[in-house]
Symmetry: C2
Subunit: 424 residues, 2 copies
């Protein structure tokens, strides 16, 4: 199993970078260090709604002995040509507006009479309702130190600083920073396009009618959802009948939109195992790296597995077994890491933990096979749900962890410590 | 702050359910209990590629004394009319194929000569390459108990069982189960459509040129990304200038596609605080529940906040402050829970933890305000990043937690235990 995973991760390479609009890059990995092109804030600005004044003009001001200043106008955020504040003057200033020349500090509006002449106010009246407040006189009731309530140019980041390092995953706060420094687009590894198809002549699309011997196709739905969950753009092709030529044609058709192909079913030792039949000889002997290999792994579920690459671009293809639980567990252990490698993520595996086994009886496991049982994990303990059967979809839907029983262990006693894969 | 959150959560109601295609329902909450309409598997079927036989016919079989049986044909998965297996007969059977009438058990192909007469085989040859293997004779080298390698009808789930409970969030394994029981569509609460717009005449779209006094709009990008991250379908309207009529018109235009509106900026005490100006009087006094309320909360950052509902459908609107850190923190504390309430999720808040403060000097916090500082959390310890300034976007991009300093605490010593909100 480890060899198989190693082979996959040694073959799959991060996708080539692409310049994307900021919001299209959400969840993607930065390719380059990002340098700050312009200091933030780009200019000294007010952190309060208030009055921009000279320090000396408000020195010693109190409610009893307010400083009376002449209001020379408004400085709104975005104001292109700030006023000049001279001795004895004040400019009414809004949060984020540039500190006007001449002004040395900002007094919040709550420390003034707001120009109304009736004691301290709690805020300004809207400009549109009271335009006269942009002129006249203001009483200031408290002194302010130099540069109080002023955010200095470059106090957030400075031009030339490294804003974000290559390899950073872009979540909302990183997108916030990129926008703040003016980046409209950014170079990232794109989300991989994953094409999912299930195989089996017995498969009927959910919602249809089952004839005798038929079952509903669940793998193509489960793995499309799981691929999205891993970060991919996933396309569900649906079920293909067990006919090698049909399967080959379908896969060839899909290559144009696939960075990775995932099939389920048809990889075991039966006479109708169409994936094995259709893909065993697709490789070109003169082309190194092309072709598929089918293996039996020492694991349960998920013993039969295929991996290789097909088509002119050597698109990687993972051929998973068809039992629903086998295909889902195989996805978690092999496909998810492959998708996350394509994305350029460093951390490609699900987190693991040690947990105490809570169970009524020992877990049994076949010798020589690493078993992955479904369980529920909470507070350091894990409880198995359902049995080992690879057709037990209902139990899988209750699980949030896989219990790992190593190859050389055939029984695990209740209370023992086990390794779990947290499905998150 | 708690009152404000309570008011929001008391007003916002889960969205009405909608019947969605299975893959469109990923991440959504089930509205009804789902009952199994047909037992799974729907029929007894083989868990192996092998031969369906009668128990008596292989009793005592060994490599030395194999049982020789007449192969009556193939039973492939999806086979509509299975063969009948009589005494002395075997049907070649594939994994998932129905156990044919007359057969009592399955012997794996590895326990047979596969019809080749040359000892145990490791698998079947493809039907298309070796059609003769569906007839002739097979040597069986091991006995099998009744119903060995047979998955019984209903052994996964039984008709009438509850497959999933109302309130379940649909991840890949739940989608797998729904598909398996034949559900092509499912009734869930849809993802809320969240319209994000920032306000401010100083705002320039990233990628553009900054004139003096201007800054780049980052809030509309950050909150659109954060809304998606919370599970919403988010629409970024971008920056609106500080003009009440323009803002009112823009918001009215957006109502048609909004389950929730989020604005940033213009909610404080300045003379150009357009959101407050435009929305303070939108409510209809005769319509209970309509209208906006603007408050000053005892928190930092995020003191000025607006909340209410607008338009004929009382669409909820959260008006956040405009400083980038204030708006992001406000989103995490107020908008994210609102989005997750609209989705019908039970767990609407970010997880919290206790952590040991790692810092060179005490954290200080204003008395009477609950402070949310940015930090990095790992292994039970949290380290502050950047200062308290609500314009410090670069530090926010390094943070993965908010450090909570309660209202009555003005200093936190290094080594103390603090509460943290994990931003995940």
């Amino acid at each position: 199993m480890d060899e198989h995973l190693d082979d996959i991760l040694a073959t799959v390479r991060p996708l080539d970078p692409i310049e994307l609009q900021l919001l299209d890059a959400q969840g993607c990995v930065l390719v380059d260090d990002i340098t700050v092109p312009v200091s933030l804030p780009p200019f000294d600005n007010s952190s309060m709604d208030g009055y921009a004044v000279r320090v000396a003009d408000v020195a010693g001001a109190s409610e009893e002995y307010p400083a009376a200043l002449e209001v020379v106008g408004d400085v709104a955020a975005g104001a292109a040509e700030p006023l000049h504040v001279g001795p004895g003057q004040a400019a009414r200033i809004m949060t984020g507006a540039p500190l006007p020349p001449g002004a040395e500090t900002v007094v919040p509006v709550e420390w003034t009479d707001g120009g109304l002449g009736a004691g301290p106010v709690t805020g300004m009246r809207a400009r549109s309702l009271a335009p006269e407040a942009a002129s006249g006189q203001v009483q200031v009731y408290r002194a302010a130190e130099a540069r109080a309530h002023v955010r200095a140019r470059g106090s957030d980041v400075k031009e030339g600083d490294r804003a974000l390092a290559a390899g950073t995953v872009l979540g909302p706060p990183q997108i916030s920073l990129l926008a703040a420094i003016g980046r409209g687009t950014v170079r990232v590894r794109p989300r991989p396009r994953v094409v999912v198809l299930s195989t089996g002549s017995e498969l009927v699309q959910p919602g249809g009618e089952l004839a005798p011997g038929q079952i509903y196709d669940s793998n193509s739905f489960a793995l499309t959802a799981a691929a999205r969950d891993a970060g991919a753009i996933a396309y569900r092709v649906g079920a293909v009948t067990d006919d090698a030529e049909t399967l080959r044609t379908t896969i060839e058709d899909q290559l144009v939109r696939a960075d990775l192909l995932v099939t389920t079913g048809g990889v075991s030792v039966g006479a109708y195992d169409v994936v094995k039949e259709a893909l065993s000889y697709v490789g070109d002997e003169d082309e190194p790296g092309s072709g598929m290999e089918f293996r039996k792994l020492a694991m349960q579920p998920g013993k039969p597995q295929g991996f290789g690459s097909i088509g002119p671009d050597h698109t990687p293809l993972l051929a998973l077994p068809g039992n629903p639980v086998s295909s889902y567990v195989s996805f978690e252990l092999f496909v998810r890491p492959a998708i996350r490698t394509l994305m350029g993520l460093k951390d490609v595996h699900r987190p693991r933990a040690r947990a105490r086994l809570t169970a009524d009886e020992p877990l049994t496991s076949p010798k020589g096979r690493r078993q992955f049982l479904r369980g529920r994990y909470a507070d350091g303990a894990v409880t198995p749900v359902g049995g080992a059967g690879s057709h037990l979809v209902a139990a899988l839907a209750q699980a949030d962890a896989l219990i790992v029983v190593p190859e050389d262990v055939t029984a695990v006693e209740p209370g023992s410590e086990v390794e779990v894969v947290l499905l998150g």
